[in-house]
Structure formats: structure tokens, C-alpha cells
Symmetry: C2
Subunit: 370 residues, 2 copies
Amino acid sequence: MQTELSKTLGVEHAVFGFTPFPAVAAAISRAGGFGVLGAVRYTAPDELKRDLDWIEAHVDGTPYGLDVVMPAKKVEGVTEADVEAMIPESHRQFVKDTLTRYGVPELAEGEASGWRITGWMEQVARTQLDVAFDYPIKLLANALGSPPADVIDRAHEQDVLVAALAGSARHARKHADAGIDIVVAQGYEAGGHTGEIASMVLTPEVVDAVDPLPVLAAGGIGSGRQVAAALALGAQGVWLGSLWLTTTEAELPSPRLIEKLLAAGSGDTVRSRALTGKPARQLRTEWTDAWDDPDGPGALPMPLQGLLVAEAVSRIQTYEVEPLLGTPVGQIVGRMNSQRSVQAVFDDLTRGFEKAVDRVNRIAGRSAEQ
Amino acid sequence: MQTELSKTLGVEHAVFGFTPFPAVAAAISRAGGFGVLGAVRYTAPDELKRDLDWIEAHVDGTPYGLDVVMPAKKVEGVTEADVEAMIPESHRQFVKDTLTRYGVPELAEGEASGWRITGWMEQVARTQLDVAFDYPIKLLANALGSPPADVIDRAHEQDVLVAALAGSARHARKHADAGIDIVVAQGYEAGGHTGEIASMVLTPEVVDAVDPLPVLAAGGIGSGRQVAAALALGAQGVWLGSLWLTTTEAELPSPRLIEKLLAAGSGDTVRSRALTGKPARQLRTEWTDAWDDPDGPGALPMPLQGLLVAEAVSRIQTYEVEPLLGTPVGQIVGRMNSQRSVQAVFDDLTRGFEKAVDRVNRIAGRSAEQ
């Protein structure tokens, strides 16, 4: 499965795997894809350094990349404390009341928060980059708009390609104007932050909007049929995130969460502002329902909501409080029904891709075999 | 573009075109696809008879079908007047106030309502069927659940295949259990009534859920790339509705509406209950905004909402009141940017399909030419 982009990056298959877990990223690269480590959860540079060292030691020389969350708009001189001060007391009370209603225990003293969303601060992302540029990363992706111009320049000086996520053709053109190299077209069905346009419509729109820049299709892809579909739509590769959550290499903090993912159907996700303040697809839970309830206070805008709920989400995850327990994941969760190794998932993708190509050739009246 | 289903139906291309316009349906069948006439707007059997006669005279012997809106649940002994009586006065007042605010004139005495939604009543649909079964239709599609068992039996006695739309795998399995022959998997991005699951995820789920029944992919398809994608996902054909609205053969009642469709982007639709009471994708307008406004009265359930707004929608269409003027249409509206003949649209679809197959073959390392 070779496109110009996969050849440029020196990978066997045009399959890009986004994951917060170093073991998954390394396994994706070893399997012939391109592993991308999500850096958002690393607040301490040492932890990121430790995990990049681990990846270096486990990718057998195959290429990999890093995904940061760097806001497009720079807010000068604003500290986390300033942002905290903008959160209304009534919203804090709503969090407390909801946690109390479900009997969610407090975290023990010094207990680490497993899933804290803090990497959105530009200074955090810049610290991550200072670490990452010491490693031979081949791709730097940004989930929130184009990275600042100096970051793009620095990446290009080090022969690192820059990718940015887009949910509309207009958004993608802005990235292209900013000088990025790859657009990830993130469809409505994707996990995490998404727009309203579904992949079937979005992918070719973005491909045409930024031509000749390469586009990766994200959202709804979990089988070789879907890989073939995305490539037929004009993408130069696929960008998969959700699918790896239930691999054996993933280190989800909660066995109950894994069970929930394995049991969930494609209709069990919701595009909710509960997690970060921007619409992000995730498992629908009584927690997202509480924030989406028109009679509730509603989610605050980014970045307030993320700060407001960070500790609560940690408590829910730590104590595995079933009705509230969720995670960002796309509609493809409906097909994530068993725990398998990254290699097994990858083999399925490539085998399924070949079968889908055979099928389309038969329909087109071309022989499937050559 | 040949699948088992297209061979069974004797058409050259596995492209099914749904349209309320006889001239479009006939042109789709003549172009080598399968035209399906939407019957929902025919309240008078004579009008349907007249239009089916016209189609018979213009399809050059090629096959075509009919789409009805027959509710799955039968409501015995309920008249339109009974349903009218269930509409709250406050909702009627909201319609009046909104029309007044935008200066929408009253219809002249005896003026026909161009777009009235009344075919949802089972007795209307049955009258349509009594007419249609006198014609050599090859397919009967139902937009609202499986048709009643006696209708399926009658269709099968006359060698008419029965199709039903589904927005989830569960829904599709119910259709299969009811004995229908084809499932139309209608993705989130589609025009008209849709569920929440996007085509990329929905199509393969439905294909696997009803295997070996054939599945048509609907939602987001307007180019050969998208046709190739849908077939890669496992569909035995594609079901296109929106794309024909801006063909030269279409008889949309309003030039301004055509302009709006040509100008709209993929982000200019909304899945709203404004039209029928069930979520249906349509152009976003100040009319849909009024019904979707959390501070407004909100849409009534089906079938009340359709009856409530029928006259209002006619007035808006007749007088082309710009800010309120809309129509059901999918996200593919963003690519409907010129008025072309059905044949020209069809040629684009088939050429684009061949190019997409070439592309996927190149990526798969197979030669594009044979």
C-alpha cells in the first residue's frame, strides 16, 4: 500500500497510527505503518524523553512521529491560574454535585491523574517540541490548527514534515497557506475533536482544496475496506486513532473501560463538549449526558472546560465509575470487539485492503488477479 | 460498473438514482443506471399514473422503480383531521408569527402547494402502490421501515424487488427479517431522514449485518471517487438522491432555491426535525434555525410536524422567501456547483469511478492498465 507520501517517509504501508501509548506507536512502525505518539498527556519533559527513548529502542530503525496540541492563537502571559480563575463557581459546584451523586471517591494524596488534559498550553507544547526535536522524528502533527510559523520552520530545518488536522476544506486551505506539508482530513465520525462533515464528503473536498499537498483520511477507518475507500477518495494514506485503543499493547488505565470499548456499538458515541469545551467524539456516558443536558449548566469553552473537569475525569478513571467512564473514540468503536496485537490488527488491514481492491476490480470489469 | 444486483436488474451501472422528478428518473435509467421515482408528493393517483405513463414512454425499455413512504406501524382509523387536532395551538401560532416576521404572503385561492408532505399516510402509499403495480416497475423502495408483509408479498408475486432504508445495522437486520431484498444504508451525511452513523462506518456494518442481501450505499456520494469508495466498503451499488436536484431535467419549483443549492457548501446543511418531526438533513435556513432554537417551541413529532408546516413550506417555496427557502439535501451539496444534464453527471460518475480504480490499483502495486 504505497503512495507518494508513504514512499517519502520510507514506510511500507500508507497507514498512520495515532496513539498516546509508546508501545503502540512503536508496534505500528515495526508493522510497516507510521506510528505517531500523542504528546498531549506529557506535562513533564522527562516523561516524554523517557518514552521517546523507549520508542527509539523499539522501532528497529523505522520512522515515527509526534502529535502535539498547540493552539493556533497565542495567548501571551496567561497562566493556568488565570484560566482557573475564569471558571464560574456554579460550574465547579456542578462537577462536585455530579461526582457526589455517583459516589466518585477523592483521589488519594499524590495520586497521579491518569488522563489529564493539559498539553493544550502553548508553553507545554513548546517544551514537548524541545524534547522531540532531539529525536529523529519524521513527522510533527498538530491537532489544533496550524502550528506557529517558527515551529513549522524549525521542523523543516530538521527535515520533519508538518501535518495539521482539518474538519473542512476552508480550514485545510488555511493550513496549506501556513506552509504545512500534510493535511489530516478529520471526518465527523472520528474520535476526538471533529467537525460536522463526514469522511465520505470531507476527504475529496480537502484533497481538491489543497492539491498537490497530500491528505490523510481520518474518521471511520478500522478495516481494509475502509482503507481502500479512503484511498479511492483521493487520500494518500489513512490516519487511525481509535482502532489501537483495544490492542494488547495499549495501556488504558482501566479494565472496565476496555470492556466498555469492546462492547460499544457505532451508535454509542457522542460528539460532546464535555471533555475540552470543543465538540469531541467520545463514548456516550452519563457524564457526557450531564454536560449535554439542556437543563444543566453546559460545557464551558476551551480551555476552561478541560481544566474544570481534569481532576474529575481522573477520579472517574481511577475508580472506574462505570456509568461515567468514557474516552475519546470514533464511531469505528462498533467494530473494535476483541483485544488483538497491533500486528494482528495491521495484518487484517492489509489483507482486507487487498480483498477490497479485488472486489472493486471485479465490479469495474477488470480481472482481480494479475 | 457491474455487481450481482445490477446484473439481476439488468442495468449497466450499479448506480441507483432517487428523484421526485419523472424526467430525471427516466434520464438516469436511459443513462445506464436505475431511476427510482419518489412517490411521496403524489396525493392523487391520476397524477402518479400520468407520470408513470410518461416514464414508460421515455425509458426506452430500461428498468426503473418507485419509492414510497409507508410507515412501519399501522395506525388504524386515524384520519388527517384527527392528526391535525393533535397539533397545539401555540405551535400554529409560532408558524404564523414566523411567516409574518419574514413577510411571507398567503397562497392565492386554489394555488397548489408545490412540496406538500402527505404521502406518509399508509392509505396514500397504498393507493400509490395500486397504481404502480400496473406498471413494469422492478423495484419498490420504502423510506420508513420495512413495508407491511402483504405489500412485500405482492411485490414478490410481481417479481418486484423490495428495498428499505436503514440508518443502523440493527435497523437493517429488522428489514432482512421482514423479507426485503435490498437494504439502502443511509449515512449521516445523506439528505432527508438520516441517523447518526456516517457512511464510512455504516456501509460495511450493514453489509455484514444482512449478508448475503445486497446493500446500496447512500449518503455523501456525488463523484466517481465516492462511488468507488462505497463499492470498496462492500456495497453492491450506490443510491444517490441529492446530486440530481441541480440537473437540467429536475423541476425544482424555485430558481432561487436552485441558486442556493449551487452556492451551498458541505457545511450548509443541518440534520433538523423542522420538516417532518424526524431528523432529516436539509439546507440550513432561518426556518430550520427557528425550529432548532432551544428557546423556540421545537418541532413536533412525526407526523404532526409535517402537517403543521406543510402550508408554510408551500408559501415559502411559492414566494421564494430567501432566508427561509430550503430543501432536503445531503452534505454532497458542496460539490453541486453547476447545472448539468443527467447524462453529463452520469458520465462524470463513470469516468471518475474508472480513475479512482486506477488510483487504488497503483497504490496496491497493481498496474492501472490491463
